[in-house]
């Protein structure tokens, strides 16, 4: 009996083995490289890219083989890692940090048959795409909620470096907080790092000491939420949902969602339809997600925030719409005017009403 089962099993295996090579041969696994700037388990930026890569692979199955390199320094190291990936047979390479931009261009020129995808930059080549997320769209929703929820009329913002992505986020949060509450002020702190729980906690406390009672963080750890919880104030999840802090202090969240894009682009390589592009996806395409708005937010505010979210996705609401002035009082957008992507992508000024000076 036992023996027979084994034999049967063996026959089944043999049959499966006889069939399997056909499908395997039909599609040799496509090697896809992922280069991360931090450790793949940093709970922040790099982990999001890594998890998204794993999700995309799960969806696409055995046809994809991943080559992952974590903690790659920008500059010479990045060039070497990408070159070695290309030599190792990678067909598509994702470089997931802004600082890899020139390295991607150099390596892409050396390996014209390998396709490259660079996150958050602006340079492209026939075999190199750029992709970025309109995080500022998510900030518009969070900023609106913050404006409604503050009792001291003062919200705080923790930034990393004064680069356009961060400046967009600060301006978008402030402009939309003012829409909710014309009396609101914003205090900005730049902490020169994307991930440092101790510094993030210190910055949160400093903002609370200045009278802020809602703090938005553009850095990746949960330390600001932990500090806000202890103080009984409010904040938002950043880059991941951070749902463990809901309903308070986490009111909602802004989520980086790269997986659909990765799946789409890897599939394009498999199908032979990959083309160089420069995309900037937002809420509509799902690259920026808004986490569940918690019950700590009154129902009418929640409904209004969801309307903004859906409006941005539908193209009827905009994070920035004139009239808006720059910090120095000069006109940025005339009444009803919308900014073009070029100005947004290189944004290096605060809007009128923000008192913090651009750090120099």
């Amino acid at each position: 009996m036992e023996r027979r089962t084994i034999l049967k099993g063996g026959a089944a295996l043999g049959l499966a083995a006889g069939l399997a090579p056909r499908t395997l041969l039909a599609a040799d696994p496509v090697k896809v490289g992922f280069m991360l700037v931090g450790p793949k388990n940093d709970t922040g930026w790099s982990q999001h890219h890594y998890d998204a890569a794993m999700k995309a692979k799960e969806k696409l199955g055995d046809g994809v083989e991943l080559m992952v390199q974590e903690s790659v320094a920008e500059g010479a190291d990045a060039e070497r890692v990408m070159s070695q990936m290309a030599l190792g047979g990678a067909k598509l390479i994702f470089a997931t940090s802004f600082g890899y931009m020139d390295s991607v261009q150099n390596v892409a020129a050396k390996f014209p048959k390998v396709m490259f995808e660079h996150a958050t930059g602006y340079k492209t080549a026939p075999n190199a795409s750029a992709y970025n997320a309109r995080f500022y769209e998510g900030r518009a929703v969070c900023g609106y909620i913050a404006g409604k929820m503050t009792k001291t009329n003062k919200i705080g913002y923790i930034g990393s470096f004064p680069i356009p992505e961060v400046v967009q986020g600060i301006n978008s949060s402030f402009v939309n907080a003012r829409k909710a509450n014309p009396k609101v002020e914003i205090a900005v702190v730049m902490i020169s790092t994307w991930f440092d729980p101790a510094k993030e906690a210190d910055a949160t406390k400093a903002l609370l000491d200045q009278g802020c009672d809602v703090v938005l963080a553009h850095t990746d750890s949960t330390a600001p939420l932990a500090a806000l919880k202890a103080a009984g104030k409010f904040g938002f999840g950043q880059s991941s949902d951070m749902a463990e802090f809901a309903p308070a202090p986490r009111l909602s969240s802004i989520i980086d969602n790269w997986a659909p894009y990765y799946e789409e682009r890897i599939k394009a390589v498999i199908d032979g339809t990959w083309k160089s592009q420069n995309v900037w996806y937002g809420i509509k395409e799902g690259m920026v997600g808004i986490g569940e708005i918690s019950d700590a937010v009154p129902a009418d505010v929640k409904a209004e925030a969801e309307k903004i979210r859906d409006g941005i996705a539908g193209g009827t609401v905009h994070a920035f719409q004139g009239p808006l002035n720059k910090q120095d009082g000069s006109v940025w957008l005339k009444d009803g005017e919308l900014p073009d992507d070029g100005t947004l992508a290189g944004m290096n000024f605060f809007v009128e009403g923000i008192t913090t000076k651009m750090p120099s």
Binding site: G33, P39, K40, M67, V68, Q69, E70, S71, A73, E74, G75, A76, D77, E79, R80, V81, S83, Q84, M85, L87, G88, F98, G99, D102, G121, Y122, F161, P162, I163, P164, S192, G342, A345, G346, M347, N348, P359, S360
Partner: protein, 361 residues
């Protein structure tokens, strides 16, 4: 049982044999680590030490990269080794490296656009001067106020990193960069670029400087009175003072020399392989060079080979990550083992192991 017995003089045999023994022990222990992680240890060791040099797929690219990676390590480590021999501990070479890159790049970009032949040498000098001056802060604090140069030089690393981040965002930001951080790409400006000198070798001016520094340091230690004073100050500080060695002068010289070399290394990196000043420019060369200096036994020739070996573990370590999916932390642990075993077996140079029978004295 066994006991350790101090040798009257260090064993010449073991001085030369210990680095090889350390590498062998690292391979064994590293292999065990990789096996525990569920990877084929032989394949991993082969990928790290053998494939970058000899594999058909990778060697043509990886071999030149050895010099690219080793150049700054050797240049910095040579400077550090002089101070370390004299008991002067410059731990902040990373900061001097960063400041050198910053000063060199700033000096060149001040003349942008230009095609003058003199800009590049000027930038090299500015890089060296920047590193030198940054190292003078701990040196002068030490000689005037007797502060600890280890702490001061280390903490200045963090100051240097803030300065370069600020430069990338503000005064050196590429005006044509659409507001994004980062300077102009020096590697794309012919007058300021530090290109590969002989195609396929990976040798750029930084590699040339590293080889020159090895030669100069070797001659100085063997033939020059300063080299004698450095060795004497390290081995017998009291005797050195009686022999008329001015310790303050020695501190300033050693710190300044290592700072200048680190600064030059930073400039060669920013004008060549890295290309531009970025927020996260410092990538740890200054700290890794400390390992290289000791791995090379503070000997210029030894440092040269130690730098190449260290570069090999980096490049091979990346291959092992790509091909076998080893985590980056395992590679770092592997590199750490190398230093650990080297320092551990160092014992054999100064001590001999005596086996004693139970009961015997």
């Amino acid at each position: 049982m066994f006991r350790l017995e101090k040798r009257p003089t260090p064993s010449t045999f073991w001085i030369y044999a210990t680095p090889f023994l350390a590498v062998a022990l690292t391979m064994v222990a590293g292999g065990i680590l990789f096996a525990i992680l569920g990877k084929d240890p032989v394949a991993a060791i082969k990928l790290i030490f053998f494939d970058p040099l000899f594999s058909a797929d990778y060697a043509s690219y990886a071999r030149p990269q050895l010099l690219v990676k080793a150049g700054p390590l050797i240049l910095i480590a040579i400077g550090l080794s002089l101070g370390f021999r004299a008991g002067i501990w410059n731990i902040g070479a990373e900061g001097q490296y960063v400041i050198g890159a910053l000063c060199g790049a700033a000096a060149g970009l001040a003349f942008f656009p230009t095609d003058s032949r003199w800009v590049f040498p000027l930038m090299v000098a500015a890089g060296a001067l920047g590193g030198f001056l940054w190292a003078m802060i701990p040196a002068i604090l030490r000689t005037k106020f007797n502060t600890n140069e280890i702490l001061v030089s280390l903490l200045l690393v963090y100051v240097a990193k803030q300065l370069i981040a600020s430069a990338a965002l503000n005064f050196l930001r590429n005006p044509d960069g659409a507001g994004f951080p980062g300077s102009r790409n020096l590697a794309q400006i012919p007058a300021m670029a530090n290109p590969e000198l002989i195609p396929g070798t990976g040798l750029h001016w930084g590699g040339v400087a590293a080889i020159l520094a090895v030669g100069v340091a070797y001659v100085m230690l063997q033939r020059h009175i300063l080299g004698y004073q450095i060795k004497l100050a390290g081995q017998a500080p009291r005797a050195a003072r009686f022999a008329g060695v001015n310790s303050d002068r020695l501190i300033v010289l050693c710190m300044g020399f290592s700072g200048a070399l680190a600064g030059m290394a930073g400039f060669f990196e920013v004008s060549g392989p890295a290309g531009q000043i970025t927020i996260d420019f410092g990538a740890g060369y200054g700290f890794t060079a400390i390992i290289v200096a000791f791995l090379g036994r503070l000997n210029p020739i030894g440092i040269f080979f130690a730098g190449l070996l260290m570069a090999l573990t980096y490049i091979g370590g990346e291959l092992a990550q790509l091909v076998l999916g080893l985590p980056a932390a395992a590679i770092q642990a592997f590199q750490g083992m190398l230093l650990f075993f080297l320092l551990a077996v160092d014992l054999l140079a100064n001590y001999r192991i005596r086996f004693i029978l139970p009961g015997a004295r």
